[in-house]
């Protein structure tokens, strides 16, 4: 089932929690809805589920306008941030609950519940109460309960936020596997950019209710639509640098970053990712003020003019505090933004 969102808006008082959002999700895709806290992710999800009524705009599932259809008739599965399992029911009763509500016979419901429980690997816990399960297991029960009614759309609201780092990674892979297995159109809310990039077919980044960019993860990472998206994606964070352009020469302070750039003269904001630097004999000199070992990489803190710049190099490189290294920026990796923070080009 493909989803179309047109001009979707939700206003609380004089705040636009979601502001004229347009989005099109293809059938069977997993979309990560990404943004900082309070940017309107949950509100968007709740409007898709029907629990919140939009102030303006329309939602289509396939060709059908579902904007005024109540949640019980929308054929969606929703996994809540805190799972919202029924605490007094066993796992089996939790999973069969939506089926029995629809008039499925008990024996039939149990059979279908077992089937889906096997997919999410919780079939051995059918007689336990939710309180007797780990966070990850509870989450899989919540997914099973959402999937058992064979919904057209699966919505997940920060389902991993209660889990520890290791379990998060394992569970997000699990969600991806389940999603691929049942081929269901899925929207996954998160404020963790790495999580979003690693499992989504496409990412939608929001800021203060406004959709910033909707793209395939890799394209978005390399071609962020604006400074906000560039800053939001990637760890360690992108370097924000002030640059001057004159006759096609991009400079930051005294350092020449690029020559021959097709760019009008002037002053610009630029972004360079820490991993966009490479060691180069003919490059710019960087004094290493500080360094941090992260395992695979070595993160160097240096200065470009007055601005602190993070540079990522391989961890087998021999550098110490106080050393000077020479480095250049990879071709096409200087992101230049205009005064309204939009990306002008990559140089």
């Amino acid at each position: 089932m493909d989803i179309r969102i047109e001009n979707l808006t939700k206003t609380y008082g004089n705040l636009n929690a979601v502001d004229h959002m347009n989005l099109r999700i293809n059938d069977g895709e997993l979309v990560g809805l990404l943004g900082p806290s309070g940017c309107g992710k949950s509100t968007t999800l709740f409007m898709l589920s029907g629990l919140t009524t939009p102030t303006e705009g329309k939602i289509f599932f396939g060709d059908k306008d579902v904007t005024s259809i109540p949640p019980e008739d929308r054929e969606i599965g929703l996994v809540f941030q805190n799972y919202a399992l029924y605490p007094h029911m066993t796992v089996e009763d939790n999973i069969t609950f939506p089926l029995i509500n629809r008039g499925v016979k008990k024996a039939q419901a149990r059979e279908e519940a077992l089937e889906i429980a096997k997919v999410v690997k919780i079939d051995q816990y059918m007689n336990r109460k939710p309180s007797e399960l780990s966070g990850g297991q509870q989450q899989r029960v919540a997914i099973a309960r959402a999937l058992v009614k064979k919904p057209q759309v699966l919505l997940l609201d920060e389902p991993l936020s209660n889990l520890d780092a290791k379990l998060r990674v394992a569970t997000r892979e699990e969600i991806r596997r389940i999603q691929q297995e049942v081929k269901i159109t899925t929207i996954f809310v998160t404020h963790d950019q790495e999580e979003a990039m690693s499992i989504s077919d496409r990412i939608a980044v929001m800021k203060e209710g406004v959709l910033q960019q909707y793209e395939v993860p890799q394209t978005m990472y390399l071609n962020p639509a604006n400074e906000f998206v560039a800053n939001f994606l990637g760890t360690p964070e992108i370097n924000n640098i002030e640059v001057d352009v004159k006759d096609g020469v991009i400079t930051a302070g005294d350092a020449v970053l690029r020559t021959g750039a097709k760019l009008a003269d002037g002053h610009y904001h630029a972004g360079i990712r820490p991993e966009s630097f490479y060691v180069d004999e003919n490059g710019i000199s960087f004094a290493v003020d500080n360094l941090r070992m992260t395992g695979r990489d070595l993160l160097l803190f240096t200065k470009l003019g007055q601005t602190v710049v993070r540079v990522l190099v391989h961890s087998y490189m021999h550098v110490a505090e106080g050393d000077v290294i020479k480095a250049s920026v990879r071709e096409g990796h200087i992101l230049v933004f205009d005064s309204s923070e939009k990306l002008i080009g990559r140089f």
């Binding site: 019980e72 599965g77 929703l78 919202a84 029924y86 609950f97 509500n101 629809r102 009614k149």
Partner: protein
Amino acid sequence: MDKKSFKGYLYLLPSIIIMLAFTIYPLIRAIIMSFLGDYSIINHGYSSIGFDNYKALFADPDFALSLRNTSIYVICVVPASIILSLIIAVLINSCNKTKAFFQTVYFLPYVTSVIAIGIVWRWMFNSNYGLINYFLGFFGIDPIPWLNRPEYAMPALIIFAIWKSMAFNILIFLAGLQTIPEDLYRAARIDSTPKLRVFTRITVPQLAPMIVYSSVIGMIGAFKVYNEVFSLFQGKAGPANKAMTIVYYIYDKFYNSYKYGVAAAGSVVLFIIILVMTQIQLRVTGEKKKK
């Protein structure tokens, strides 16, 4: 005893003394009294020591009636009050704007004197111009002489008591309803749960601890019913004593007939009944919880 726990006991002392003086001591005295006959000033002794009071008690048809009435009262009032309170609490809770208003309205009976409420209900029960008969008239039911005929004494008392005890239950249930996470109801909507099933499968199980609490407290209160009788029938136990309850019986024996021993024996019997009933109730609900 080390210094620390000594200090702890010191803090407890005032309440221990109060409890000993006003609860434990009278309890022991009542038990002793129930085994003693009348005190004679001439002989400086009791006319008998033993089970005479209990024999008299169980031979008294009034006591049998009071046992029967109290049992009927408990069986009718406690469940009916809980079920009605539950429904009303859910209704109040569902309308957000008027919640505070109705919460106050329904709590009024709890903070108002039973005597005052009794007067209002006497008027409502009045066979000629009472509100209840007026209302029943709409359904073609002839006026019922609620307070004047023996056979209507218990029904009138029970209706009055259900209404009165609802205030406390509604309050407890409203507090309980507020603790149920909103997301459970959202999940139930997403799961297409019919309204009635939301009530029976989510609201009621979530309120189970409050329901158990209300039923235990309600049952203890119901076994001790006296105020309601007194206020509804103006100090009597209804026409021809037909609304006689255990506590009313004890009161009557003590203050009107001066049969202190029999009154004490009645209290002991009531004490044992309540003890046994609450134990059974707690055991049954405790067992369920384990499952």
